[in-house]
């Protein structure tokens, strides 16, 4: 009988569910906003993925949760940290992976690991929204731009407007005053993306870059941000394709489910 496992990534902004088989093939994915009831978001997302895969929950040999609200997914068999999940996900996608940089909705994570996938060093943004997806969302909101238009707008910029504030709240005031001074919106948008990328690189540098670097996280679905990051890195980084960018941690969680089954660990 074939074995299947589900990974649930309960992120601050989005909940992602992925179902894979024992070979690591993806059967189904599902995603929605986490909102204020992460347990319900997880249940809905899992149901959606199961339906898409044509499976029942009993067909799963394990359900593994990760992300900041991982302990709220009541159907989980085990929960793993985002760092562990991202490491496993990155290695499944790119077997030569040595580090991962994840630009999420509320967190930026950088993590370096050895050939066995053991974590050697990591760094998170911790207490500050600077450079996270939350900052980009607010920037788009005050500019009256939908998130789906961010890329198109930023792409037109020739001279990105620098944002000097670190704090996302102060950056907002700075952006408003730039708008008042008639700085072109595309330059402000691109400036905000540059700020996100710079902040992520700062965190990555504290961990140390190790080949191959795998990039992940919702912020990179803006291809201008991904391009900027690649440019500034000055080295070739691996970018998950086919919409897998936001599912790296969920994939890793599912992979752990396949490998370790239902046994519950601390």
């Amino acid at each position: 009988m074939k074995r299947f496992a589900a990974g649930i990534d309960l992120g601050a902004a989005c909940t992602k569910v992925i179902i894979i088989d024992a070979d690591g093939e993806v059967l189904a994915r599902s995603q929605e906003k986490t909102g204020f009831q992460p347990d319900l978001a997880a249940a809905r997302c899992l149901a959606g993925a199961l339906e898409a895969a044509g499976l029942a929950q009993d067909d799963l040999s394990a359900i593994v949760s990760t992300g900041f609200a991982r302990h709220l997914a009541s159907m989980r068999h085990r929960a793993v940290t985002e760092l562990t999940a991202a490491t496993h996900g990155a290695r499944l996608l790119f077997p030569a992976a040595g580090s991962v940089l994840d630009l999420g909705g509320q967190t930026i994570k950088a993590c370096r690991f050895d050939e066995q996938g053991r974590i050697l060093a990591f760094r998170l943004n911790e207490k500050c929204a600077s450079g996270t997806g939350a900052f980009l969302e607010r920037t788009a909101r005050i500019m009256g731009v939908g998130l789906d238009q961010v890329d198109e707008l930023a792409r037109q910029s020739l001279h990105p407007a620098p944002i000097s504030s670190v704090c996302a709240v102060f950056a907002e005031s700075e952006i408003i005053s730039q708008l008042m001074q008639a700085v072109p919106p595309q330059d402000i948008m691109q400036g905000a993306l540059v700020a996100c990328v710079d902040r992520a690189l700062q965190i990555l540098r504290q961990v140390g870059l190790q080949d191959e670097l795998v990039l992940a996280g919702g912020v990179l679905r803006f291809s201008t941000a991904a391009e900027l990051l690649q440019q500034k890195l000055g080295c070739q980084a691996r970018l998950p394709v086919d919409g897998m960018l936001q599912f790296v941690a969920a994939l890793g969680a599912a992979r752990i489910g396949i490998r370790f089954g239902k046994e519950v660990s601390s």
Binding site: F36, Q37, A129, T132, F135, R138, S165, V166, A168
Partner: protein, 272 residues
């Protein structure tokens, strides 16, 4: 028409949220105050608050010998004769209002500062939130915005809270999410707001401790109008704060006092 008054001086404090102005007569008595929202046009805010200050006192601009500017927008005051940092101005203003002041806590729209002052109003030491909006008035306006409440009404509602929630996040952006999560979990608004006030108060206490807590402590800036914040700070400090109707104007008052130094031909104090 020409004005025949003994000369006045004025101080204008262009803050991130509000612009304040104070008029001083020759004997350093407050002859008028004005306050408006800064908005996006900083130059206009400075101009408008000054016009309002003069109109309120029935004076024309000729009657003002010197105008001093302070606050983050002080260099945007087109008619300003001198500019002084807000640290120096709040220290000077607080000591003028309450001569026993040795420590000042200034809580404004985007920054919070703790200042240790000498008896003459000079600055000995200070500490401020450089790069981060946590623990500033901005945190309260963010709470007001997500709860869709007027900023002025927050203190009264918060004061009725009995079981304050704990706001565990430091960042104002994350705290907004946390506040919404408390709402979603069915917590009462007054308990959430009381928790928000406590979070800011404890953050300010950390700032105050860095400069020492030498009494008496004077609370200045826009948030000093917030009675719930005063209560929470006093509870944490275990002592009374000096606060009054004029404390939101302490920065502008300090600026006006520096302007008066020039009028009196006094040596300009050494400004940090």
């Amino acid at each position: 028409m020409t004005c025949f008054h003994p000369p006045f001086t004025a101080g204008i404090d262009v803050g991130s949220t509000q612009t304040k102005a104070v008029l001083l007569d020759v004997s350093a008595r407050i002859a008028g105050t004005a306050i408006i929202d800064t908005g996006f046009d900083v130059d206009a805010a400075a101009h408008n608050v000054y016009a309002r200050l003069l109109a309120g006192a029935g004076l024309c601009a000729d009657a003002i010998h010197t105008v001093a500017g302070t606050g983050y927008g002080r260099f945007r005051i087109a008619f300003g004769d001198l500019q002084v940092t807000e640290i120096s101005c709040h220290a000077r203003g607080a000591v003028h209002l309450f001569p026993a002041t040795r420590t000042v806590l200034d809580m404004g729209g985007q920054d919070t500062k703790a200042i240790r002052v000498a008896a003459d109003g000079g600055v000995i030491d200070f500490s401020m939130n450089d790069k981060c909006a946590a623990g500033t008035g901005r945190f309260l306006s963010a709470a007001a915005a997500v709860l869709e409440m007027p900023l002025d009404g927050l203190a009264a509602v918060a004061a009725t809270g009995c079981n304050p929630v704990t706001i565990s996040t430091t960042c104002t952006v994350f705290a907004e999410t946390e506040i919404l999560a408390w709402v979603a979990r069915g917590k009462a608004i007054n308990d959430i707001l009381l928790g928000a006030h406590q979070a800011i108060a404890s953050r300010s206490l950390a700032l105050l401790k860095r400069v020492g807590l030498q009494p008496a402590i004077t609370f200045t800036g826009g948030v000093s109008r917030n009675s719930c914040m005063v209560d929470q700070l006093e509870r944490l400090l275990g002592s009374r704060l000096q606060v009054g109707e004029q404390t939101p104007f302490a920065g502008a008052l300090g600026a006006a006092l520096f302007a008066r130094d020039r009028l009196m031909g006094l040596q300009q104090a050494v400004l940090p």
